[in-house]
C-alpha cells in the first residue's frame, strides 16, 4: 500500500503541481506509524460495534434491557458467567453483558465525539478572539479561562448533574462547558505569537478585515495543535462520561453505558469477575486505542517531539 503510493509520487514528480501541504505530510507520517494504524483499526471496530449494536441483539436474541431472571441468573439470584447463551455472561439483573457493551459503545462514542466537538469549537473561537483582538476582549476571556481552569471540574459537574438530573444532554453540556478553557488557552497562546507575524500585516495591507484575518490567515496555522489536542481529548471525555456514570450521574437506568455497568458490578466483583471485566475491558481498550492513536497524531504533526 505504502510503496504503491510512493511509486506514484516518483512518477508524478516532474510535473507535480499539487502542493504538499504540511497536513498531507503529517498524514503520510501517520500512515507509516504502525501503532497508530493498529489503534485506528481498533477504533473503527469499536465504531462498527456501536453501529451494529442491534445486530448483536438480533444474533444473540437478547434485547439490551431484557432481564432474563430465569436463565440469566443462578438459582441464588447471582449473575451467570460466560456460556453458550450469554457469551460474556449476565449482570445482576440477568441481562446480556455482550449486548449491553455493544449498546454502551454508542453512548461512549456519542458523548466522546459531540462533547469534544463542542469543546473544540468554543475553545478555538474564544481562543482566536482573545489572542487576536486583544484589549478588553482578551482581558475578560483570559479571566474566564482562569476561572474555568481553577474550578474543581468533577465536583462541580457532579453538583450540576445532581441539580438538573442525569441525562445525555446534561453530560455533554457539562463536559463541553468545562473543557473548552484548555483549548482556548492553547489557541490563544499560538495566536498571540501568530498575530505578530508579517503575513498578518501583509493581509492587513491588502485591506483584509479582522474576521477574515482571524479565520483565513490565522486559523489554518493553529489547526495542527488543535487536531492533536482533539484526538487526545476524546479519550479524556469518554473517561469523564464513564466516571460520571460510575458515580451514578450518567444516564438514567436502564440505558446501558460502560461506566454505569462497572458501577453496578462493584458489589459483585468478588463473585462475578466477568461482570466488571468485560465492560472495564471495553472502556480500557477504547481509551487506550484513542490515546495511542492520538500519540501517533501528535508525533506526525510535530515530528520535532520525537526526534533522536
Amino acid at each position: 500500500m505504502t510503496s504503491a503510493i510512493e511509486m506514484v509520487d516518483v512518477i508524478d514528480e516532474p510535473k507535480a503541481i499539487e502542493g504538499r501541504s504540511p497536513f498531507s505530510l503529517a498524514l503520510r507520517r501517520l500512515r507509516k506509524d504502525k501503532v497508530a494504524m493498529i489503534s485506528l483499526v481498533v477504533i473503527v471496530l469499536i465504531v462498527l460495534m456501536a453501529i451494529l449494536a442491534p445486530v448483536f441483539a438480533a444474533v444473540t436474541g437478547h434485547p439490551p434491557n431484557e432481564q432474563y431472571r430465569d436463565i440469566g441468573l443462578t438459582p441464588d439470584g447471582l449473575p451467570r458467567g460466560p456460556n453458550g447463551t450469554f457469551w460474556l455472561g449476565t449482570d445482576d439483573l440477568g441481562r446480556d453483558i455482550l449486548v449491553r457493551i455493544a449498546y454502551g459503545a454508542r453512548i461512549s462514542l456519542l458523548v466522546g465525539v459531540i462533547a469534544t466537538a463542542i469543546t473544540v469549537v468554543i475553545g478555538v473561537v474564544l481562543g482566536l478572539a482573545a489572542g487576536f483582538l486583544g484589549g478588553i476582549t482578551d482581558t475578560i476571556l483570559a479571566r474566564l479561562i482562569d476561572v474555568v481552569l481553577s474550578v474543581p471540574f468533577l465536583l462541580v459537574a457532579i453538583a450540576l448533574v445532581s441539580v438538573t438530573g442525569p441525562s445525555l444532554t446534561v453530560t455533554v453540556l457539562v463536559i463541553g462547558c468545562f473543557s473548552w478553557a484548555s483549548v482556548a488557552r492553547i489557541v490563544r497562546g499560538q495566536v498571540l505569537s501568530l498575530r505578530e507575524r508579517e503575513f498578518v500585516e501583509a493581509a492587513r495591507s491588502l485591506g483584509a478585515g479582522d474576521r477574515r484575518i482571524m479565520f483565513v490567515d490565522v486559523l489554518p496555522n493553529v489547526i495542527a495543535p488543535v487536531i492533536v489536542y482533539t484526538t487526545l481529548l476524546i479519550p479524556v471525555v469518554i473517561v469523564t462520561q464513564a466516571t460520571l456514570s460510575f458515580l451514578g450521574l450518567g444516564l438514567p437506568p436502564p440505558t446501558p453505558d460502560w461506566g454505569g455497568m462497572i458501577s453496578e458490578s462493584q458489589n459483585y466483583y468478588t463473585t462475578a469477575w466477568w461482570f466488571i471485566l468485560f465492560p472495564g475491558l471495553a472502556l480500557l481498550v477504547t481509551t487506550l486505542a484513542f490515546n495511542l492513536f492520538g500519540d501517533g497524531v501528535r508525533d506526525a504533526f510535530d515530528p520535532r517531539a520525537d526526534r533522536t
Binding site: 479571566r143 482562569d146 476561572v147 481552569l149 481553577s150 474550578v151 474543581p152 471540574f153 468533577l154 465536583l155 462541580v156 457532579i158 453538583a159 450540576l160 445532581s162 441539580v163 438538573t164 479519550p235 473517561v239 464513564a242 466516571t243 460510575f246 458515580l247 461506566g259 462497572i262 458501577s263 462493584q266 466483583y269 468478588t270 469477575w273 466488571i276 472495564g280 472502556l283 480500557l284 481509551t287 487506550l288 484513542f290 490515546n291 495511542l292 500519540d295 517531539a305 520525537d306 526526534r307 533522536t308
Partner: protein, 319 residues
Amino acid sequence: MAMFLIRRIGHGILVLWLISVAVFALFFVAPSNVAQTLAGRQGTPETIALIKHRLGLDLPVWQQYLHFLGNAVKGNLGYDYYHQVPVTHIIGQALPITVSLALGAAVLWLALGVFNGVISATHPRSLADRGLTLFALFFYSFPSFLLGLLLLYFLYFRLTLSGFGWFPAGGYAPLAGGIGPWFQHLLLPWVALALLLAATYTRLTRGSMLDVLGEDYIRTARSKGIRESRVVVVHGLRSALTPVVTQFGIDLGQLIGGVVVTETVFSLPGLGQTAVTAINQQDLPVIIGIVLFASAAVVVANILVDIGYAVLDPRVRLH
C-alpha cells in the same frame, strides 16, 4: 517582583470571587428542598418556613450571597444544614486525608515519571523507550475508578483470600494512630493515583530532556570528558526539570478537589468524598465551601508555580 506578586494575587482573588458568584448563583437558583428534607415527612408548612428562616433561605439570593461573602472574608464559610458544624471544621477534618493521599502519590508518580522519562530520553527509539511509553500510556488510559477496583480485586480480595491480609478494603487510619496502619491504608490509593499521573511526567521529562540533551552546553560537557551519567543527571536533568516542576505544582493544586473518584473507591473520607456526600444531601454550604477551597488551592498553586518559575529561570520577565 513585588508588583508582579501583587498583580498575580489580585488576579487570584478576582478569580475566586467570580467562582463564588457563579457557584452561589448556580446552586441557589436551582430548586432546593433541603427544608422539606430537614422537616421530615410530617413537616408542616410552618415548620418548613421556620427551618428556611433559620437557615436564611427565605432571604433574596443576593442578600444570602452578601451574608455569605461577608462571613467568608472573615474566614467563616458557614455551617452545614444538618448538624450546624462549621464548614471550615469539616474541611479541616477532611483535608489531612486528601493531602496525605496527594502527597504520597506525588512522591511515587514523580519518581516513576522522571525516572522513566530520563531512561526514555537517554535511549530514544530503543525498546526500553517504546516499552516505557506504552506502559505510561496504558495506565494513563485507565479510568481511575477501574484501576482502583482492579487493585482492590487483586491486592485486597485475591491476596486476602490467599491468606495475605496486607491491604485493607479501604478506609483511613490517621497518622496519629501510628505510621504503619496509615501507610497500609494509603498504599493502594497512592499506587492507583500515581500510575494514572506518571504518564504525563514521563512524556514531559522525556521531551524536555531530549531538548536539553541536544543543547550545545551538553555537548561541551561531554567533550570535556565528563562521565555520561553525570552529564545526564547534573547538567541535563537540572534544566530539564523546569516544566516538570510547573506541571507538578498545577497538578498538586488540582488534586485537592480532584481526587473524588479515588477517595470514593477506597472509602477515604477526604474532601472529594465529603463533597460528594454533601451533594447527595444538598448540603449547600459544605458544597460551596469545598468548591471554593479547592479552587483557592489551584489559584495558590498557580501563583507559587509562577514565582518558582521566575526564581528558577531568570529569563522569565515578570509583567
